[in-house]
């Protein structure tokens, strides 16, 4: 085991430099350290100006995604050991405007998330006094996988379409839409379908599946997109061939 390992960290300080640059830091190597621990070591001991986001350090808050040696990863869940002998390249997630250093701007995602109506839509709500909506474990299993998204944005960083077509609503937002569509308590499928089929993006998706490969929570956004296309096509045929069905 080496004593130290080198990180090449992308820096971008918009007040000082026009273009991002790389800076090298040597940090102690420890078998139980993650990439995030190394960044914290830099911030605490070598350079307090390094900026990045993190919070839970247990892989569930979704804050600490970065490009590590070119791959989108949660830095709190990536051992340095995996990346020996180094140097390790750390960059902000691809596809998002960089605010500073390793911090990307994800407001675009939040706006898209609201667009897919990520809440239970119902015509009428049963009064609370009547208790829960029954939902069997099997019905729960229908959407459970899509409910696991931590909004970490790794799938956007991996998505070749999002990079070229910023209008594309993107893998996670579609998976979350699907999470509600498949929920037995929800009646909003049509509204969400209308939102999604307005955008070319979903058709542009070539089912590369990179999003599902990088997802740390096995959400499988690619699968969600595929199901959507099938549903949307069926819906289109239905509206063209049997227009009375939607009345």
């Amino acid at each position: 085991m080496p004593e130290t390992i080198t990180l090449e960290v992308q820096r971008y300080r918009p007040e000082d430099e026009a273009e991002p640059v790389f800076e090298r830091f040597d940090v102690p190597f420890r078998a139980d350290w993650m990439v995030l621990d190394a960044l914290n070591y830099i911030k605490d001991n070598l350079d307090g100006t390094l900026s990045y986001r993190w919070a839970c350090r247990m892989g569930v808050c979704g804050s600490c995604g970065m490009m590590v040696n070119g791959q989108p990863l949660l830095t709190c869940a990536t051992y340095l050991e995996r990346l020996l002998p180094g140097p390790i390249r750390v960059e902000p997630l691809k596809g998002f405007p960089v605010i500073r250093d390793l911090v990307g701007d994800i407001t675009d995602f939040l706006e898209k998330l609201s667009r897919v109506k990520p809440w239970i839509v119902r015509e009428e709500e049963k009064p609370l006094a009547e208790g829960e909506y029954l939902q069997t474990p099997e019905q729960l299993a229908d959407y459970e996988q899509y409910s696991m998204c931590i909004n970490c944005m790794l799938c956007y960083a991996a998505c070749p379409i999002y990079e070229l077509e910023p209008d594309f609503i993107g893998p996670a937002a579609i998976a979350i839409a699907q999470r509600y569509n498949l929920d037995s308590r929800d009646e909003g499928v049509q509204e969400r379908l209308d939102v999604l089929s307005q955008h070319d993006g979903i058709w542009a998706c070539t089912f590369v599946g990179e999003c599902s490969v990088v997802c740390p929570k096995n959400v499988d956004p690619a699968g969600a997109i595929q199901r959507y296309k099938v549903a949307a096509t069926a819906d289109w045929f239905k509206s063209v061939l049997t227009p009375w069905a939607n009345r």
Partner: protein, 579 residues
């Protein structure tokens, strides 16, 4: 200086803050509500809660039984009127979350499933596998998106409350992305900023849990209540402090010492049985389990590791099926962060700082003594947790008291005029302070990380599971020294763009205030109760201390401590019996 104005300002976008925001929007859709959060709301620490949320559902259960477990669990330092409201409103709050899409785990027939939990006599903990907080937070966050009156200021850090003419009229915040300082004017403010476990070195809490709201209120003259009561959770992973939820023990996990012996049987916690027994052994309350661990260490029956002493949590006998369906996150955490599979190996664990029972003093409507200021969630102390919180009561508390604070603030704000123009002067003072003391300051010799580490060590040494006068006094002196040295803090970063060093520095200042109030409250309480164990005063003293401590900020570096009586309705103080 930039100014924004809303009717109601929510500081904090975790479970409590989002629930309160919805409560305001539903109570009065005319009111403009803003949620300010230092991280995107779905990053808030509610996201890490694993085990579940308590509310009575079973026919054989009763509100009285939930209340009694909560009150005895809290060693009677609990306001019983608050607990009565809490247990009464808990079931409908959890049902409301069901309406908002929370994927509660179900029984085969589709009804809500419940699991046992520590200190609870009957099964009443609702759960969404072992990611309950994650699912609750995302359901709440996504639901807020459907309410147009709720606006958000994401990644804004609040640095000060504005108080004018005797009422709270807003706050000052830094927008991280631009470094702009904003005056946020409001007719009512609700603090939902969560706890402050980061005051200690080894904690389950996220890096963002720095007690900011407690410090904001303390500096505004609002008392902090029962700050000496800090919960150690008995089962954290060594090194990372990642929580292994109590649900592991509720499903049947055992705690074993180095000889493979279920040592809790030696500490008045009952007899070992093969199946989990409620309020017994591994399902005893957290304070008692953590104290038993320290005694095992003293007897030399724990395992020494690089990261201190540990015992083993064994769930292998549950089998892969139960572990993967009921505890999938535990398995994932062990595999990813401890390099072991709990299906095949025992999990090393040790007690870890987890939760603050104390906080900003509120009544049962969430009102603080400062008109216009409300608080809910972990930052607040309504006094349902007393000297020791029961697991799974906190997530429910966020909802019940988040909703109550939202409703009370909505009612108050509707009758208030806009904040007076003079409020802005205070905001300007704060802007000056931020610029002079931090952004434009040069020189300084003290590193943030050094001060933080020294503070955390002092807290662990002086205010850990067992405390005494000498240790607490030493810690108090150390904190005072650190407060003085903080004046000479050095900042490398003077940028206005996403300056995380500035935030870390302001968080450190907040943590020092929280540490100060905690230590002095602990020094003043000369008895042992729940999570506050004084080796020099080992007995509970109801004549002297069946009362809530209240720490008031003063200029001289140590708070003034006063006491408030505990509200007792129908459960006179008794002995805590487990086993």
């Amino acid at each position: 200086m930039d100014t924004v104005a809303h009717d109601i300002l929510l500081i904090g976008g975790g479970g409590a803050g989002l629930r309160a925001a919805i409560a305001v929007a539903e109570a009065n859709p005319q009111l403009k509500v803003a949620v300010v959060s230092k991280v995107y709301p779905m990053r808030s620490h509610t996201v890490s809660a694993e085990g579940g949320a308590a509310a009575v559902v079973k026919p054989e259960d009763s509100l009285e039984a939930h209340a009694y477990d909560t009150i005895s669990g809290g060693d009677w330092l609990v306001d019983q009127d608050a607990v009565e409201a809490f247990v009464r409103e808990a079931p409908e709050e959890l049902l409301r979350l069901e309406r908002w899409g929370c994927p509660w785990s179900r029984q085969p027939d589709g009804r809500i499933a419940v699991r046992p939990f520590g200190g609870m006599k009957i099964q009443r903990t609702w759960f969404a596998a072992d990611k309950t907080g994650f699912h609750m937070l995302h359901a709440l966050f996504q639901t807020t998106l459907k309410y147009p009156p709720i606006v958000r200021h994401d990644e804004w850090f609040v640095t000060r409350l504005l108080v004018d003419e005797g009422r709270c009229t807003g706050a000052v915040a830094v927008e991280l992305a631009t470094g702009k300082i904003f005056a946020i004017l409001a007719k009512a403010v609700i603090l939902c900023t969560g706890g402050g476990g980061k005051v200690f070195p080894f904690t389950t809490n996220a890096n963002i849990k720095t007690g900011d709201g407690m410090a904001l209120a303390y500096r505004a003259g609002v008392p902090l209540k029962d700050m000496e009561f800090i919960q150690y959770h008995p089962t954290g992973l060594p090194f990372t402090g990642i929580l292994i939820t109590e649900a592991t023990r509720a499903e049947g996990g055992w705690l074993l010492n180095k000889d493979g012996y279920r040592y809790l049987q030696d500490y008045d916690l009952g007899e070992p049985q093969p199946e989990p027994v409620l309020r017994s052994m591994e399902l005893g309350p957290r304070d008692r389990l953590s104290q038993a661990f320290v005694k095992e260490v003293a007897k030399g029956r724990t395992i020494e590791t690089e990261y201190g002493h540990v015992v083993h949590l064994d769930i292998r006998h549950l089998g892969e099926k139960i572990i993967s369906t009921k505890l999938p996150f535990v398995r994932e955490l062990c595999l990813k962060y401890q390099k072991l599979d709990p299906v095949e190996e025992m999990i090393p664990v040790r007690p870890v700082i987890h939760y603050m029972m104390g906080g900003v003093h509120t009544d049962i409507r969430g009102e603080t003594p400062l008109p216009g200021l409300y608080a809910a969630g972990e930052v607040a102390c309504v006094s349902i947790n007393g000297a020791n919180r029961l697991g799974s009561n906190s997530l429910t508390e966020l909802l019940v008291f988040g909703a109550r604070a939202g409703a009370a603030a909505a009612e108050y704000a509707a009758s208030q005029a806009d904040p007076p123009a003079s409020t802005l002067n205070q905001a300007l003072d704060e802007e000056q302070r931020l610029q002079n003391r931090f952004l434009e300051k040069t020189g300084g010799v003290e590193r943030i990380s050094t001060l933080r580490t020294e503070m955390q060590e002092a807290m662990e040494d002086g205010a850990g599971i067992y405390r005494d006068e000498a240790g607490l006094s030493a810690a108090a002196e150390k904190i005072q020294e650190l407060q003085a040295r903080f004046q000479d803090v050095a900042l490398d970063d003077h940028s206005l763009t996403f300056n995380t060093e500035l935030i870390a520095c302001l968080e450190l200042a907040n943590m020092l205030d929280v540490a100060e109030s905690l230590i002095h409250s602990a020094l003043a309480r000369k008895e042992s109760r729940g999570a506050h164990q004084r080796t020099d005063y080992p007995e509970r003293d109801d004549d002297g201390y069946l009362s809530h401590s209240q720490a008031y900020w003063t200029e001289n570096g140590s708070p003034r401590i006063e006491y408030l009586p505990v509200t007792i309705t129908q459960w006179p103080p008794g002995e805590r019996v487990y086993g």
